[in-house]
Amino acid sequence: MSTNPATSDEVLIGRIANGDRLAMQVLFARHHVRVFRFVLRLVRNEATAEDLISEVFLDVWRQAGKFEGRSAVSTWLLAIARFKALSVLRRKPEQELDDEVAAAIEDDSDTPDVTLQKKDKGDAIRKCLGRLSAEHREIIDLVYYHEKSVEEVAGIVGIPEATVKTRMFYARKKLAELLKAEGIERGWP
């Protein structure tokens, strides 16, 4: 008999609400890598991302009894994670943020020589994905990597479904522009 992962997650949440540490371990093992990656792409700092995921799952431990099952557990986790990541980003001084973003952009960029040598379009796409704004990276990740529906993204990000679709479109359009600047013309968007 196959197991429905969504159902299993909900069962785990029910057990966690009753104080079951083992259920907490299972849920953590199942989701912590994806939550970590989601947070890391937002805060761009591994230590901060690690701190945040323990905070996210601590919230799950505390709030499990209030989980109503209106969304998938994975969606709930990402919504908590996003809220915590944005809180951290808001607390950081502007200068620190700018430095981090600048460092990240610098890390992701190639020198013109390297760009000229680059033959792998996939590599170029990955580099350009890293140069998108946080807002655009977030929606790309939620849709492509975290496999969230329009409705789920709307719930996580807190925007209308129509905005989810247009934001994704503009993220892809920006990606096309970045690729074009790298000499890769993919058409529009």
Binding site: G19, S54, W61, G122, I125
Partner: protein
């Protein structure tokens, strides 16, 4: 001319906007069919879809390359959990009473009246029952109805009246010490209730059926033998 060709700043149609979700396989069946049909009829859209798939693959690669957190994250989590106040263990539970209380929190408008709404309320209730049984039966180690429902017992098949609210039904189950174990049956809307842990004699079971049938929330009741 392709229906999807647009000036640069114009937002494309809904089908094109949905391409990323189609590539990720997260569209509902209806929208997926719409996109599939459009792709089959529009070569330019199909070319754009290939670019979406390309982005999808690279976005996955980017994320997969990020690695995983160290064991420190889990250690930190459980250190924090250990520092939390001990959670009160439930020594016993009166499921039906809790259910009735839970259901009574909803307004009649929320729950709805009529056959369809009542059926939905029962489905919700059945799901809640299953969730509670799994949660409490497996964590606390209690013997729950769900754990014994596959064994011996006495069962009655009922159909709830359309005007019965979920709170009414919760109260009915509580007062009759009954548990929904199956249903609703497609077409008839019947539910199977376990009314006793042991096998009842025909006379005893008939008495239970008679009492249940007299309830204002029950439209039909019959013994399951």
């Amino acid at each position: 001319m392709s229906a999807v060709k647009k000036p640069d700043d114009e937002i494309p149609g809904d089908v094109e906007l949905l391409l990323p979700w189609h590539a990720a396989g997260t569209l509902n069946r209806r929208d997926a069919a719409r996109v599939e049909q459009a792709l089959a009829n529009d070569n330019e859209l199909a070319a754009r879809y290939e670019r979406v798939r390309e982005e999808l693959g690279e976005a996955i690669r980017v994320n997969e390359s990020l690695g995983a957190p160290s064991a420190r994250a889990m250690e930190a989590l459980f250190a924090k959990i250990d520092a939390e106040p001990a959670r009160q263990s439930k020594a016993s539970f009166n499921l039906a009473a809790r259910l009735a209380g839970f259901m009574s929190g909803f307004s009649p408008r929320t729950l709805g009246y009529g056959a369809a709404a009542a059926a939905l309320a029962i489905v919700l209730q059945a799901g809640l029952l299953a969730g509670m049984f799994v949660k409490q039966g497996q964590v606390g180690g209690y013997t729950t109805a769900s754990m014994s429902e596959s064994g011996a017992g006495a069962f009655v098949s009922v159909r709830f009246k359309p005007e019965a609210t979920a709170a009414d039904i919760g109260q009915f189950l509580s007062s009759n010490k009954a548990v929904i174990v199956d249903g609703p049956v497609a077409g008839s809307g019947m539910f199977k209730l376990r009314v006793a842990q042991r096998v009842l004699s025909d006379r005893e079971l008939d008495a239970v059926v008679k009492a249940m049938a007299a309830s204002p929330v029950i439209g039909f009741a019959a013994a399951v033998r």
